[in-house]
Symmetry: D3
Subunit: 132 residues, 6 copies
């Protein structure tokens, strides 16, 4: 239904299946969501994207739930429907409560409006905000 | 230098000064950044925006640093230069380390690329991601 | 300073000068703003863009000031700095008062936040909003 | 079907119902569109958003139809599907004719293309457009 | 199902039919896609848009397939679902192979992420990139 | 002047210098543009971004100039000032003529306007454009 078909396990090459298997192992589930099945039309792009996201979203100085909420924030601002759905679901799976979701929505809405105002008013950056 | 002038304390009406004073009190600093001085051209809009942001950014289910990093993420995705500067500075003031900043950048970059891919491929939302 | 140089009257071809002259005649001023001088690097694109904008912004079912404020609204949402400047100035020249500017800002800010919320919540369109 | 469920009247808390009742009273209709039912998952966000939009969209220096068309313009530039639907419907309900809609479309299309050109050419803002 | 109805051949005015006929002749097909049927609600906008796109997309210094892939790239970055579908299909019809599609996707994803990083870091433009 | 400082060769760690050296070798120049010097604040992000872009922009089914123009198109639609500058310069260095630049601008402008129209009209995707 998209601009490419979805690659089923049956239709997948060995290279694609290896990525699917790693997704399943890392996430502890058999489920492969449509994004990866669409991306699998280009095995090299699938592999590069998965390898990178696995690194970026791993626990670090920021915890995985914070990273997932940041992902939602960017996805919403970029107007990506699929991503709004998939990363909101992922954030819930990582422990986002209804209160946290409400505050996430409020921050996104607030930032969206002051972003627009700062752009409309063409506010000049204060010197104090710039790094030398 | 913007599309409106900046309102100095001297030129401010009593209504505007009252908001400036509250900004100073809440933030514990005398400094009023240009965004508020530009917005002060419309005292009602200044007051409404400040009252709302004060509520939204207060500690809650999410801590203030997480909220500030979410603000950066939205601002970057919306391409707001002023906001990228001001909220990165604010996040640092609230304790964002260089490691956290690096991970914030990596998540924003990752989300931007998968947002683009999901949109390009027009990936259909998996049923499991939808709320009933 | 841009990605192309600005074409001065002296450097302009006859085709470019003809467009510059028409801009001057329609606007009743000798001033040609940088946008047109940049676009003049491609005379055909200059001419096509000017001919179309002249038609679109002419008085019609919507008056020119309303059209100019719509132009500001789109420009801000698209994050175009130059356009925020040039069309805010144009709206003022066409009679936008400080009160109107304040309300324009408020609507842009309001729309930006509910746009973000509707996208974040992936609200399904009500049937009543759809045309048959 | 969204990232949150829709709150029916039956499931609504007293706080939510009070907002729904005010929406009905202000608009003179029993119908509550999905945006508000989705937002009602967070009663505080629902109330803050409704109270603000009621103020912003009230008649003022700009008439309600102009405000509604500005809302459409921002919504389209932000790529918000739901909002394009709901605010086009609202503009029609406030008197937007087919001619006005056609001109609204033409201005949005025109601005979108010159926004892109000004960004691509990185046109420097003319001094005359800047406020001191 | 959109914000306007689709104009069938039966409902089309002579002015609209003339554009539909030209679309059919230029493309060598009887099929008129929904975009043009929606735009036909405003015959003048339909005609202006078609006349311009016919010129812009004609072979020139860039070949039609390159132009079509550029169109896909812009459409994806602007988050236009319809356009992602229609121009991906058009690029395939003009000879885009699976390898080319994969590379197009990779470039779009790459640009999206470095765009975000450059905006987040507010990188100052190197003098060498500016035209005098 | 950005949200981070620029890392000079003198201040660079061995890890950063190794990336800078590879950039110099691949591009056949001593010059390191600001983007990489800003990114170097996070050596891991610098390395991951450079390694990926080197792969993505290499000759393949699409030639490097086409890839560079696609990069410009995405950067403009995303409103990235730095990227519009740097990738326009790169496209010129790879052989983009004035004619090609003019056509690139025209396609970007055209796509931007039909993107906006398709979103405003909420045109439903034709079945023929969807992959099974």
């Amino acid at each position: 239904m998209g601009t490419v078909g979805l690659i089923t396990d049956e239709a997948a090459s060995a290279e694609v299946l290896a990525v699917f298997d790693d997704i399943r192992a890392v996430r502890g589930t058999d489920f492969i969501n449509n994004f990866w099945r669409a991306l699998a039309n280009d095995p090299a792009l699938l592999k590069a994207t998965w390898e990178r996201i696995k690194q970026v979203m791993a626990p670090g100085a920021l915890d995985p739930l914070v990273k997932e909420m940041l992902y939602v924030a960017v996805s919403v601002a970029n107007g990506c429907e699929y991503c709004a759905h998939s990363h909101t679901a992922a954030a819930r799976a990582k422990g986002m409560s209804a209160e946290m979701h409400g505050e996430l929505m409020a921050v996104i809405a607030m930032a969206s409006q002051t972003n627009a105002l700062a752009t409309a008013l063409q506010v000049e950056t204060d010197d104090v905000f710039r790094m030398e």
